[in-house]
Symmetry: C2
Subunit: 134 residues, 2 copies
């Protein structure tokens, strides 16, 4: 295979996508909570340290569902409760989140637990698989 130079890629690699997702202050945090904390209901997201407002959370949940990143369904046990879970497309964001967390761990003052970081750096496939097991 012929080597491609950097210039050949230049100007041809847009992030046309997901400005709504990656350019939004809250959406990735919701995905993080679903993925790493296992948060699955409205009030669970409200408990995160970032203190999202209820109207903003409701708005983002609708948008993330519309984007096919999460699914919403009534709790089979408690009719009052709505459960949120990641779709396949949502789980596919795990590598993005992991790279963000690793970058932050290396370059910012974050409080990520060392064993979690080690697990991410180690066998990444297994780590990602462990996120899907409920």
């Amino acid at each position: 295979m012929k080597k491609k130079s950097r210039d050949e890629y230049r100007s041809r690699c847009p992030i046309n996508i997901g400005l709504e997702l990656f350019g939004d202050r809250w959406s990735l945090l919701i995905v993080r909570d679903l993925l790493f904390k296992g948060t699955d209901h409205f009030n669970g997201f409200l408990e995160s340290q970032e203190k999202i407002a209820t109207n903003i959370l409701a708005d983002r949940l609708v948008k993330l569902e519309a984007a096919g990143i999460l699914e919403r369904r009534p709790d089979s046990q408690d009719a009052r409760r709505v459960r949120y879970r990641l779709s396949e497309k949502g789980y596919a964001l795990a590598p993005v989140l992991i790279e963000i967390i690793l970058w932050a761990d290396a370059h910012e003052d974050t409080a990520a637990p060392p064993d979690v970081i080690a697990a991410m750096r180690g066998n990444r496939k297994r780590f990602i698989a462990s996120l899907r097991k409920r």
Copy 2:
């Protein structure tokens, strides 16, 4: 090594960081242009399809410099010109951008060039190294 369950990681993996970076609509696009397009001056960023406004661009360039992600210096040739380049910390964002682009390529309707995607999926280390060569 003992296997860690998902629950052991739960509630302990925050993205405390970079809400300013990852939760911002424009910052990652600037990094993208620096990384993949080789954009290095103010008006270059303005040419991107997303059409950032001049005041927002100026603001984000200041913030990204303050965050140590890019460096600013006057052009040695042309005094009017200011050149921007990624710092090491900035280059370290390449894996994040790559995962975003791969996710989008798989799940969204993006126009990323197939050969670039293939290069990212193939030998990633080499691909990243190619981004640093000027």
